[in-house]
Symmetry: C3
Subunit: 347 residues, 3 copies
Amino acid sequence: MECVKNAWYVAGWSSEFGDELRRVTILEQNVVMFRNSKGGVIAMDDRCPHRQLPLSKGKRIGDDIQCGYHGLTFNCSGKCIRVPGQSGQPSSIYVDTYPVYEKHQITWIWMGDPELADVNTIFDMPEFTDSTWHAHQGEALHLKSNYLNVAENLVDPAHVSFVHPSTLGDAAGEDVPVHVDTKSDVISAWRWIRNAPPIGFFQQFGNFTSNVDRWHYYYLHMPSTAVIDFGSADTKDNLPEDQRSKGVRVFALHFLTPVTSEYTIDRWMHLRNTALGDGAASAEMDAMFKVAFAEDKEILEAVQEEENRPQTRQLVRIAIDKAPIAYRKKIQMLIDLENNQRVGGPT
Amino acid sequence: MECVKNAWYVAGWSSEFGDELRRVTILEQNVVMFRNSKGGVIAMDDRCPHRQLPLSKGKRIGDDIQCGYHGLTFNCSGKCIRVPGQSGQPSSIYVDTYPVYEKHQITWIWMGDPELADVNTIFDMPEFTDSTWHAHQGEALHLKSNYLNVAENLVDPAHVSFVHPSTLGDAAGEDVPVHVDTKSDVISAWRWIRNAPPIGFFQQFGNFTSNVDRWHYYYLHMPSTAVIDFGSADTKDNLPEDQRSKGVRVFALHFLTPVTSEYTIDRWMHLRNTALGDGAASAEMDAMFKVAFAEDKEILEAVQEEENRPQTRQLVRIAIDKAPIAYRKKIQMLIDLENNQRVGGPT
Amino acid sequence: MECVKNAWYVAGWSSEFGDELRRVTILEQNVVMFRNSKGGVIAMDDRCPHRQLPLSKGKRIGDDIQCGYHGLTFNCSGKCIRVPGQSGQPSSIYVDTYPVYEKHQITWIWMGDPELADVNTIFDMPEFTDSTWHAHQGEALHLKSNYLNVAENLVDPAHVSFVHPSTLGDAAGEDVPVHVDTKSDVISAWRWIRNAPPIGFFQQFGNFTSNVDRWHYYYLHMPSTAVIDFGSADTKDNLPEDQRSKGVRVFALHFLTPVTSEYTIDRWMHLRNTALGDGAASAEMDAMFKVAFAEDKEILEAVQEEENRPQTRQLVRIAIDKAPIAYRKKIQMLIDLENNQRVGGPT
């Protein structure tokens, strides 16, 4: 599939990895993952190089994995340390392993050249460790859709009025212009809707009694992490654009894992500056997000089905497509760069 | 798929189309259809030219369709009349529409060049409006089968003895010769079986106490409408072939809609000169037809499965194949004609 | 699919064939089979040469088969003896038939050139008719797996310790060397494990109170019949290798029928020199075999899924692979031989 390989992708919430061998599929690659006795998460190809049985069908012997077919055993570095029925193991018997790193209870994996893996490039934001903010992990949304379409949707304020009229948008936003920044490393799109009734989400969580100013900022980090900064403030406050934290503010985070060219997992969570430590509020927000994301899922899966059918026309592009177009260009540029490096590199 | 495009096909019974947007697939083309405020049925491509969401997932705004993803709006002519987030709509944003015509509570659609659509060529027969005849719509039979195989079966009197021994045929007909006319626009095949016990259908509906003369006339109208004229009369009446309406006579009509190359919808109904206005008789006939058509379905779907498997031999042709062979030739001739016109035409 | 055609394969237990027409698929070929009035089992292509309806959807007229679509009728030699609606049947209308032979309640079929079918080459062993042995038919295990992988597994003593630790093997056998004979017509592999506790199977059926010597001999007959000779004797008896019948000895037989390139039926049964005529023991052994074969099925189907995925590495071979490698070579040699004969032969 077409995707950036030299990048960190989310393999799962940290809570998903324990003692058991677990198969995870990322960029069409099956990986077996588990948490070893030292507490680290291990990832290696989920396929024995002998007869191809998935190693996840084998069992752990301490921190090693023993294949369930003929007992070949691999340590956490992917090195074969035992072949039953013979003495010694040639070095040709091994499995590839993948760098893994955990941060803020999220487990990241690097699917490309291990030498290039730099944990300092993993997505972060200061609100994760700011005591005036509350972080809450949501769930994993499984989508029969290419990850590019899912990511596009997350840098596309224009769809909100039509896809999420009862939760995240309404008709007041339909024709409000979208601002776009496609020059930075992070692509962003945003729109302010001033002096309008609160949308469903902030009717429930904002306690607003009159009209509000509200914003949607969409930030898309390469290759597939989205941050949606949205919130509301009483219109009477006339909130400046750069003081959004004075309003009720929520960051919805989406970590997209490309599974295959037609399947994506969107792990979503949020950070908020209201209702700190309020578990009931978290649950209510999750419930509302789930309504909205189910609406996205229906759209995105229907689009994927159409893309799988014969194409008879050139698709049209419209004004609101600026950020999605820039995103696809940037991804393609990164893929081309990788391919060129691989061809021209010293190895 | 291989099919005639410049032809009227049945999109549905008229009762199938109301206010709601409904996806219909004809000749592998997805079409969204609905009945507008003036009572007319509208048909257009079920795919927004922007991001390909099916328009049937959007909603009606009066007689227009608003796409459910970004709100692009199309009128009944397929013209885009609104693109949210920008002023004006370039003419490149449109969807194709299809001519639709309703006659006798049946909705026909023209999938080819709209300029060639002539409603006078739509199938008709005088008994639809004759007060001595009763018309009754049946149901829609869904078949995992190419439409050519279904149509062949409807101009094939010979299968009746073997496939429908308890309803529409019996052993008495097995070796009775089939007459065929392949010269006319409408291909026909027929056989008379004189002085034999009534078949199951007419045991139930004819009140015959002795042997009957019975007939089966199969008429196949291009590209895929079949009329089966069958009936019985007391043998003592010695009914001439051209006075069949003096007997108990039924026209079974089949309107075949090619959905894909391996899927066909057969909407079936009948006209009869007996039991006029008798709803119970209609229901009983439907029940008997359903038994018979389920027998056809089993055969046709099994044949399709075999056609999808590797072919290792030249198939053999036998005497009773005359009408089916003529039908396939005629269809191929019409397809070739269309292809040539498209290549050589002034456009 | 890649397979030897000039060979006898098992079509089923003899009890599977009675009066009814039954479709069986062997080497991707659909065959209709039934037992005729003389008690013989008939096999012919399950496809009418007219419109391709499977003949198994038709009905028997005495010992002939009448097609369920237009009544073409074929006798046990595949000759067409009736075409309704015409006089006479050209010789071009026929179906191919296959040699069938029954031995020890097992029905064998020959899928290749009928002239080469020699019933003397059908698998046999003297214990079938030896009164000191008991033969018991088991069941049919359906595997979504290529037959080569299934057969390999049946000449592979090394997997037993890892796949069947509770039934047919245990850790004591993990590193015991495997002996292999790849020179004979029948490929064999075997291993003795001396002075170890009895495995689950012989805990249940051997009444052993102390350590045993146990053996596993795997014999693979071309193209796909396996005999597994396994048993145990009290270690104190110090049983010589060639006197195994003095111990508790079981022959597990596996008749593999390649259905498609990814589907195999493994009909299994056993012969034993203990608990003669003891139905309860047969049932208990079947139950234990079923546990073990379900373990094989899980492994083999997982391997097949991996083989269907993109291959990115050369697989490694290890010491225990000798017999499986020899088996694949022999099969390939037989296939090549057939192909050359077909090209260069006098026809």
